[in-house]
């Protein structure tokens, strides 16, 4: 609502913006990106990107190699400059990288406690490590951990900061299939306990559908498709899972044979981006 106020001594009208309190104000999103563009030299990696992530929402970001998904994650992590563009992410955020990136010269608990201050750092690290099932290995060197254990330590290191935004950069890509299934369960249970907003960057469609509330497909620097997944977890057996999977794969350029019976569930929201939908 705008209100025009006349100030007689100046003779000029001044427009004052009055914000009406909305009765059902939407929750302030944890992540809000508007018209974000990122270039490396001549190459435009992200183009006019809009992304919202609600507090506590689990979003998976799918995309082919070079689609800009890691660039978006790095931007939200504060690792890349935003050049004054409209990007809002909570200060309290933590990243789990594809390679665990533990400092080899620090024992596990010191890696988890990296950057924490205060005398209770060890106790906090121990609590986080216990939560990921590594409480008994807090005093060992990182080089003695298996790939899955290293990744769990990396998750503990992110978790110990109680982040409002948890950024997962293909964290399960380098672990074996069985470990990956266990890690999925671990991440879901931690997400339920701590309720951070999560952005999971992955190229594994099944992983995205298994874990996320919402799946975004990034293509050519834009969101090419969005899929809300309202299935109860665990989801793997559901026919809807297969239908969503087929749709998402099509957006990633993988065409599967048509199913025997078309499934009516789920609705695809596609953005008109031209070549992205081909």
């Amino acid at each position: 609502m705008n209100q025009v106020v006349y100030k007689p001594n100046r003779g000029e009208p001044t427009v004052i913006q009055i914000e009406a309190p909305s009765p059902a104000a939407p929750v302030e999103p944890a992540v809000r990106v508007r018209n974000f563009t990122r270039r490396f030299g001549e190459t435009v990696v992200l183009r006019d990107l809009d992304v919202d992530i609600a507090p506590g929402e689990f979003v998976a970001l799918l995309g082919r190699s070079g689609s800009g998904k890691t660039t978006l994650l790095r931007t939200l992590a504060g690792l890349d400059p935003i050049d004054g563009q409209d990007v809002r992410a909570p200060e309290s955020r933590a990243v789990v990288y594809q390679d665990a990136r533990l400092l080899p010269w620090k024992r596990i608990w010191r890696n988890v406690a990296l950057g924490l201050s205060g005398s209770d750092a060890r106790a906090r690290a121990e609590a986080a490590l216990t939560e990921v099932g590594l409480g008994h290995r807090m005093d060992v060197w990182p080089s003695t951990l298996s790939g899955g254990e290293s990744q769990r330590a990396a998750i503990a290191r992110a978790l110990v900061r109680e982040p409002k935004l948890l950024l997962l950069d293909e964290p399960f890509a380098a672990v074996d299939a069985l470990t990956r299934i266990r890690m999925h369960e671990l991440v879901l249970s931690l997400w339920r306990t701590h309720a951070p907003a999560v952005l999971l960057v992955t190229h594994d469609v099944d992983e995205a559908i298994t874990l996320a509330d919402r799946v975004l497909v990034l293509d050519g620097g834009r969101i090419a498709a969005e899929e809300r997944i309202d299935l109860a977890r665990p989801r793997e057996g559901s026919p809807t899972f297969q239908a969503i999977r087929r749709r998402l794969l099509r957006h990633l350029g993988v065409e599967l044979a048509a199913p025997a019976a078309p499934s009516p569930e789920g609705e695809l929201v596609a953005y008109p981006t031209g070549e992205a939908l081909s």
């Binding site: 992590a77 504060g78 690792l79 933590a94 990243v95 990288y97 390679d99 990136r101 400092l103 080899p104 010269w105 620090k106 024992r107 990296l114 950057g115 060197w141 990182p142 080089s143 003695t144 290191r157 900061r161």
Partner: protein
């Protein structure tokens, strides 16, 4: 041929007169001379002088080399200011500078210590600089994303990451300091192992020369053992040390 057999043959050769004492003293006379020199205090006092020179030079060289490497390794401006001149100077063998150092510093302790300092500075600089530049940028980025910056980042990530390279440099520096010590001590010394050797040469006392050579060797071995012990402690996180 085992070393013991070699020594036995050497002893036999000396006793039979095949190896005259002015060419090479018999092992038994070397042992006796060593004992006499220890008892008289001549050997320990001169050894301390040599050791003091090596340690003083090494301390200066390691400090200078580390300071320069950290400066060049951490900042672009530091790299531009420090690296080119050092890369130019390092091609010069330190010992070749000894005539110049004698002109500048005279013939006392200063040129000896300065030569050792210069000779040990380069291996420290080169290895530590490479080590700092070689720290995995992914680890630095991860540490940054967990809130480390400034001195904390340097102390917790960059310097520990460069430590293996530094210790390698320290090993080279120790070996170098020994080599330079031997040569520098031949220049007009009035004390030290080199002085003993020079005196012994004038009197053809090969037994004293051999004793001093043995001491050089033992000190070198001890220095290496010290670095190994430091490595075992400081690099305990390395897989090779974890297994053993």
């Amino acid at each position: 041929m085992s070393p013991l057999l070699l020594i036995a043959l050497w002893e036999l050769g000396s006793r039979a007169g095949v190896i005259p004492a002015h060419i090479l003293a018999a092992p038994s006379s070397v042992v006796k001379t060593a004992w006499d020199m220890i008892v008289s205090g001549e050997l320990p006092s001169n050894m301390l002088v040599s050791l003091g020179r090596a340690l003083a030079g090494l301390a200066i060289g390691v400090t200078l080399g580390s300071a320069l490497a950290v400066t060049a390794g951490l900042t672009r401006a530091g790299e531009n200011a420090v690296d080119p001149p050092i890369q130019m100077l390092r091609t010069l063998p330190s010992l070749a500078l000894s005539p110049l150092f004698i002109v500048w510093f005279g013939i006392g302790e200063t040129p000896k210590i300065a030569l050792i300092a210069l000779g040990t500075m380069f291996p420290i600089y080169l290895n530590l600089y490479n080590g700092i530049r070689g720290v995995d940028p992914k680890l630095i980025e991860a540490a940054r994303s967990f809130g480390l910056k400034g001195w904390d980042l340097i102390a917790e990530v960059i310097l520990p990451g460069a430590l293996p390279s530094f210790l390698l440099g320290l090993r080279f520096a120790l070996a170098g300091s020994w080599l330079i010590l031997v040569v520098a001590e031949q220049i007009n010394a009035s004390a030290g192992l080199g002085y003993l050797i020079n005196n012994a040469r004038d009197f053809s006392r090969t037994d004293v020369i051999v004793v001093c050579l043995l001491v050089y060797a033992l000190l070198g071995l001890a220095a290496d053992a010290v670095v190994r012990a430091i490595e075992r402690r400081a690099l305990a996180w390395r897989p090779s040390f974890i297994k053993s």
